[in-house]
Amino acid sequence: MKLQNHKYCDKCKININGVMEYCPLCQHKLDGENGVRQYPVITTVYRQYEFYFKSLALATTSGGVISCAINLMLPESGFWSFFVLLGIACFWIMLWNVINRRFNIPKYISTQVFIISFISVIWDFATVWHGWSVDYVIPITCTTAMFALAVTGKVMKLPVESFISSMLADALFGVVPIIFYFSGILHIIIPSVICVSVSVIAFAAIVIFNGRSIIVEVQKRFHI
């Protein structure tokens, strides 16, 4: 095959097309006119914001170490540095979730509900159980998330399939407060009752309007 301008490597006895200065096979210096460029120059993609994350990681690590150190110097002040560490851990869990799911808002919302519920229970335990996590945090997050999902779907004009599973997961999770209600651990019952009712209505709405989509979605996700 004849190609226009090309260089010649007399060591390899091979024509070389393109704009290379050295033979790609034997790295011998080439003479002759450059041909046409064959490949674009590709720069390595610089990871955006990497520096900020590294700074953040160092800042939180130092914060944790320093508070532990001060705590060790002042043992009579109680084990407060434990809360600092717990705070840092929660911060990173939340941040990780946001970054990982930033392209899938419905999924982000539903996982955020789980994370917030989980974290609030842990904090409630750590700060001598008052029950505020089950009284307020879990039911209110669940209810708001369901409205948030419905609004997001409408505003972002998402196809039903893309947020139906998040909505369903959230609606099912929203029924959990009924267990709290009957096991008698609730001090304040109104938020939980509202949450359960909204969940059941949401669930019914999904089944009535999109029952077919749910079946297809289940077939897809659970095929073996």
Binding site: N15, P24, Q38, V41, I42, I224
Partner: protein
């Protein structure tokens, strides 16, 4: 009826979990024309091509047990080449199509994920795309497309169709094989070196030796590797993996994966190293393995794993780990891969406008891919290793036979 989702075919089941470093499971078919590519026309051609390849319009999603392909309305967009060779274009967080059309100067690139299709599917797509492009650009009438397949035929999983549940290959304990080592390019870069030569001149030489073209070049590659590796590495045999297009043995119009592989193993520490002996052995292995019986055996053995009930119900996060290990165990049983995609056919009226076709794939070791178009034979080596001695020995072996070779390489664009 068209469904809005599809299972992965039997080979593709492994691929989403297997991705690792430079092995992105992407491959690239290119077509070089005589004139610069026009962006608008290429976009128009792509819009028309995608109509006949509806199965290419999908995104990869995770289920509880398996990955699956979901139909998507995302419109494929033509771009000027902007990323490194065979870069992973899909990310589990962002849903994108599993193929991409880019161009640079006179070259059209089609990069396809192996999850979606294999060489045959991609070739059909590219030739259709190029046909549309050339007919729009030059005001030619678009001839009817060269292949005949319905939507269902194209999306068929031919592995499952021909799986009979018996006739498996006997398990043979295979020896450790020699593995290539060395410094790699940073940033998961792949280097490609493509050599173009004349088909007729090459065939003259191979026929003189009474050998097929693929077997001849496989023997050349085996010897090039053997000469390059250290004596200690030679203690283990060199093994070359040869993919086979099963459509030549089992009738299928599937545009998805339908291939199998076999290995040519040569022990340079105990067998003679002269070219003729190696070639004779390679020819023998080709004759033995390229039979319907042997290929039925490989097909059944591969497909059996996916039909195992325990494998089916294992959750996906667990499968991800197991399949990755299985894939890489299998991968490291070969030193390198040599794949001859075969002859590209395109309607005659377009021949005057096309210079050549090339193909290359992502790999973690060394992969050679060959394709022929009219009298133009192209063989591309992709590798993440900086050392190019195997390629040098291979091409010098051919140029010493008096063949005229022209090479191109993406080293001109690599930042080292």
């Amino acid at each position: 009826m068209k469904t809005n989702w599809n299972r992965l075919d039997n080979a593709a089941m492994l691929f989403p979990s297997a991705k690792w470093g430079t092995e992105t499971l992407m491959f690239r078919f290119t077509c070089v024309l005589h004139e610069k590519i026009d962006h608008e026309t290429l976009q128009r051609a792509l819009n028309d091509t995608i109509q006949s390849f509806d199965i290419f319009r999908c995104v990869l999603k995770r289920g509880l047990f398996w990955y699956y392909l979901e139909h998507s309305e995302i419109k494929p967009v033509v771009r000027e080449e902007y990323h490194k060779l065979c870069a992973a274009i899909y990310d589990k967080r962002i849903k994108t199509l599993l193929f991409e059309v880019t161009y640079f100067e006179t070259r059209i690139n089609l990069e396809v994920s192996h999850i979606l299709s294999d060489g045959t599917g991609a070739t059909n797509f590219l030739t259709t795309l190029v046909s549309y492009y050339l007919s729009f650009r030059n005001g030619l009438e678009m001839p009817p497309v060269g292949f005949d397949a319905s939507y269902n035929q194209m999306q068929e999983d031919s592995f499952s169709k021909y799986y009979n549940g018996k006739d498996k290959l006997k398990k043979v304990r295979r020896r450790r094989v020699c593995r290539l080592r060395g410094n790699r390019y940073s940033g998961d870069m792949l280097r490609v070196i493509t050599g173009h030569l004349s088909v007729s001149a090459l065939l003259e030489i191979t026929h003189e030796k009474k050998s097929s073209l693929t077997a001849y070049l496989s023997a050349c590659l085996l010897n090039s590797i053997a000469e390059d590796i250290t004596v200690r590495q030679q203690k283990n045999p060199v093994s070359l993996c040869i993919p086979v297009n099963l459509r030549n043995y089992f009738p299928s119009q599937s545009a998805r994966n339908f291939f199998s592989t076999f290995s040519v193993v040569y022990d340079y520490s105990s067998e003679p190293t002269d070219f003729d002996t190696v070639l004779a052995k390679v020819n023998g292995v080709f004759k033995e393995k390229l039979t319907r019986e042997y290929l039925t055996g490989t097909l059944n053995s591969y497909t059996a794993a996916a039909h195992n009930p325990f494998a089916k119900i294992a959750p996906l996060f667990f499968k991800d780990i197991v399949l990755k290990i299985a894939y890489w165990r299998n991968k490291t049983r070969n030193t390198a891969t040599f794949s001859n995609v075969g002859i590209i056919k395109i309607p005659d009226i377009f021949n005057g406008y096309i210079e050549s076709f090339d193909v290359c794939t992502s790999t973690k070791f060394l992969q050679a891919n060959a394709i022929s178009y009219l009298d133009n034979f192209s063989v591309s080596f992709t590798t993440p290793f900086i050392n190019s001695d195997i390629e040098r020995r291979f091409f010098r072996m051919l140029s010493d036979l008096g063949l005229e070779i022209t090479i191109t390489s993406n080293t001109e664009g690599l930042e080292i």
